[in-house]
């Protein structure tokens, strides 16, 4: 097969994967710190897309900047959602039941957000027109869509920012401590509940920003969450539930898998490769690439 074609698919896959990676980091952060699988993650992304659209329409703000501007409001929203809803679910003290209950809660939240958005914002797809969405950089024989390239670059910047936050700042270290061992963290005067709020807020802000970047080249409509939520789950599980670098790598891999699947399967089956990868990871290496195996007996 012509190598140029293969490289093209790989390049496209990586570009797309970069945005998936940013989406997935939010999910991984939330799971890593709170042990909550946030079913509503995709829906917050959708809301982020709409806010970015609003910025573009009302303020002529470029989506790449708009994406960054979604971070503050969505951080606050995430914090409030945690404080008002998730923190109230305790499962009667049993951690497994608490996890199940929080999962159901986020599923319910997802349904509410998607359907309320359909009602209020109408199902008509919208798009943001940018000059660069239809142009491409030429790197030798390989064409890189400009919108996707810029989105990829921004995603990298934000991911690095999160990484620096987690590893270099005190707040970030407190967050990781609360994730590793909540009880020990509490003894170190770390407010674990506040850490959960911080993690959830950051996770939501990140996925909203990813949505904003996506809005630069992807149609915006209320049901868009459905297309991406499973991709996010796969990326996070592939990387190792709870590992941030893992989620980033997982996102890139999923982008690649999705793109390379197109070499052998028609467009409609594009996500089949992803689902099969999902199942393979769960069976062969459930702790993912960077995850830790828990002791059982």
């Amino acid at each position: 097969m012509p190598w140029a074609e293969l490289v093209q698919y790989v390049a496209t896959g990586l570009l797309v994967g970069g945005v998936y990676a940013l989406m997935s980091i939010g999910l991984a952060l939330i799971f890593g710190v709170m042990r909550v699988v946030n079913f509503a993650q995709g829906d917050f992304m959708m809301l982020g897309m709409y806010l970015t659209y609003f910025y573009a329409v009302a303020g002529a703000i470029d989506p790449l900047l708009g994406a960054v501007l979604t971070i503050p409001p969505f951080f606050v929203l995430g914090w409030l959602v945690h404080r008002g809803l998730l923190a109230r679910v305790t499962g009667g003290g049993d951690p497994q039941r608490q996890m199940d209950a929080q999962l159901i809660l986020t599923l319910g939240l997802s349904l509410v957000i998607t359907n309320a958005a359909t009602m209020i914002l109408t199902p008509t797809p919208r798009g943001i027109r940018t000059a660069y969405a239809t142009r491409a950089f030429a790197l030798g024989p390989v064409l890189l869509n400009q919108a996707r390239s810029y989105a990829f670059a921004m995603a990298l910047v934000l991911a690095v920012a999160v990484y620096v936050f987690l590893t270099r700042t005190d707040a970030g270290k407190a967050l990781r401590a609360a994730a590793d061992d909540p009880e020990a963290a509490a003894y170190q005067a770390i407010d674990v509940r506040a850490m959960h709020g911080l993690a959830f807020g950051t996770g939501i802000a990140l996925v909203a920003a990813a949505g904003g970047l996506l809005a630069a080249y992807y149609p915006i409509e209320p049901n868009v969450a459905g297309n991406f939520i499973v991709l996010m789950f796969v990326a996070v599980v592939l990387g190792g539930l709870g590992s941030i670098p893992g989620a980033f790598v997982g996102g890139l891999v999923i982008g690649l898998v999705q793109s390379l699947t197109l070499l052998v399967l028609p467009f409609q089956l594009q996500n089949t490769g992803v689902f099969i990868a999902f199942l393979l990871v769960l069976y062969l290496r459930p702790q993912g690439l960077f995850g830790r195996r828990a002791r059982t007996v």
Binding site: V37, L85, R88, V89, G91, G92, Q96, R97, M99, D100, A101, Q102, L103, I104, L105, L107, G108, L109, S110, L111, V112, I113, T114, N115, A116, T118, M119, P123, G226, V230, F233, V237, L241, P266, Q268, L269, N271, T272, F275, I276, F278, L279, L282, Y283, P286, T296, V297
Partner: protein, 587 residues
Amino acid sequence: MRSRGWLAIAGVVVLGVALSLLLQERYHHRVLTLVFLWAAMGLSWNIISGYAGQISFGHQVFFGIGAYVTVLLVVKAGLTPWIGMAVAMAAAVLAAVLIGLPTFRLAGIYFGLATLAYPLIFRIVMDWLGYQEVAVPMVRDRPGWFMQFTDPRSFDLLALAVLAATLVLSRAIETSRLGYRLRAVKENEQAAEAMGVDAFRSKMAAHMLSAAPAAVVGAVYVHAILFIVTPEAVFGLLVISQTLVVSLVGGTGTLWGPLIGAAVMVPVSEVLDSTVGDRLPGIQGVVYGAALMLITLYAPEGLYWRVRQAWQARAARGALLSRGEIAAPAEAAAAAGPGATVLLDVRGVSKSFLGLQALADVSFEVREREILGVIGPNGAGKTTLFNVLNGFLIPDAGDVRLGGEIVTGLRPSALCRRGVGRTFQVVRTFPRLTVLENVMVGAFVRTGGVEPARGIARAALVQVGLADRAGALPAGLTTLDLRLMELARCLATSPRLVLLDEPLAGLSGDGVAVMIAVIRGVRARGATVVIIEHTLQALLRLADRLVVLDQGRRLADGAPEAVTREPAVIEAYLGQRWLARMGSPAC
């Protein structure tokens, strides 16, 4: 008391028929049909996710298979859906096996995530195969033969029949051995395994039993409501959402839950959809989402359990034996001493964990009816040894022979069925089962019937002296009673070999005396006992022989007096002061 459940089911059927006859408008019949169908769907989900505790987010895959197989058989082969339904059921059960085989190896959250993938895969495949829209062909001649009724009452009754069958199935599971085993697996899978419950087979059985009704519901749903099958409509998110809402709002783990959930939620959402659905598309989704959120926040166990708790004061479930019965352990027959034949033969067992050598070439024998004590400092490998003997761990090297048969590598439930019983360092109860029900789980190793199991369980409780606490929940028990319960549960499996992991930990002097008497009674009835203990004084009164482990190695093996005087043992574990104290007459 047991027949009350069946009567209640009959009552529901009668009520359903009455409603069907009373309601006049076509639209009301549609709502009634939907209530029956979603209740049945919720019940089917409840079998795998409520009774067995394996929360599935992909149960609609069986619904969709039922719908597609039935309709495709009508379209392609002209096969009547009455037979097509049976084929669809078989297809769904097969799918349940194929899905369950790999997926049940996953624990906790991974299982739930994996179940998400299957309906998505089916959706994509159906799209790709060109079945985006398969319409049920209208049949003029003998429409009933093709499940196409003009009178909406017929659909009501058909849906009611499906519901009734699913109720009967649920009730049958609840009152059977499988039902007890599923609850045990749900409460504490490892303890269940140690009590002889093959968790994988139980889950698989529940999975298959949950798939069949879902497929039938799917088939009927297509003919009564949908008429056109699309992948989104039968494999999509709204199906599982509706199933979850109905089951969670009503209450899981009981057949009344989905009934109540459906009776409440379906009419509400249908009415909303028909009144404001045009102006507010998606109102159903909002209602379901809000219901899930509200139920999780305010009544996570579901309406049925919440109402039951509030209505019925937690009256003592009562002693199943009168208070006059013996509260002390039953006296054993004349104690027989250790025999000569070797029951347990451990040879060269080694086990390491990522470089930490937990057990290194450990060998010893245990003779029949012997009481063997295993002692050693913390981290010596004692519990690891038990985990190997019990089947929770597979050794890197070495063999374990039980009665001459090599049993290394068998899973815990298999070992339990061969006569190896075990209690745990930290008592592992089935928290929401009563004491008697806890013990019955063990009894099911020896019998298939619920009544015989109850009898065996009662006898075990009498043997340990816990008969008057039979109806209590584990949460209300003292440490001693909890340990006695765990021991009774183990004894109900009729073990040849009983492994006790620190049975005296946390007990006061009186408790220790009771436990020692019970253990002696266990041996007197012919079982062999191996005990890990730190309470040396007590163990010396009890054990015929001691094995000392230190850092994974067997340090000493022999009669207690001799072993406790060996210099290596004193050095590693006992200490000189202990020896001095032992020498004094005040012990």
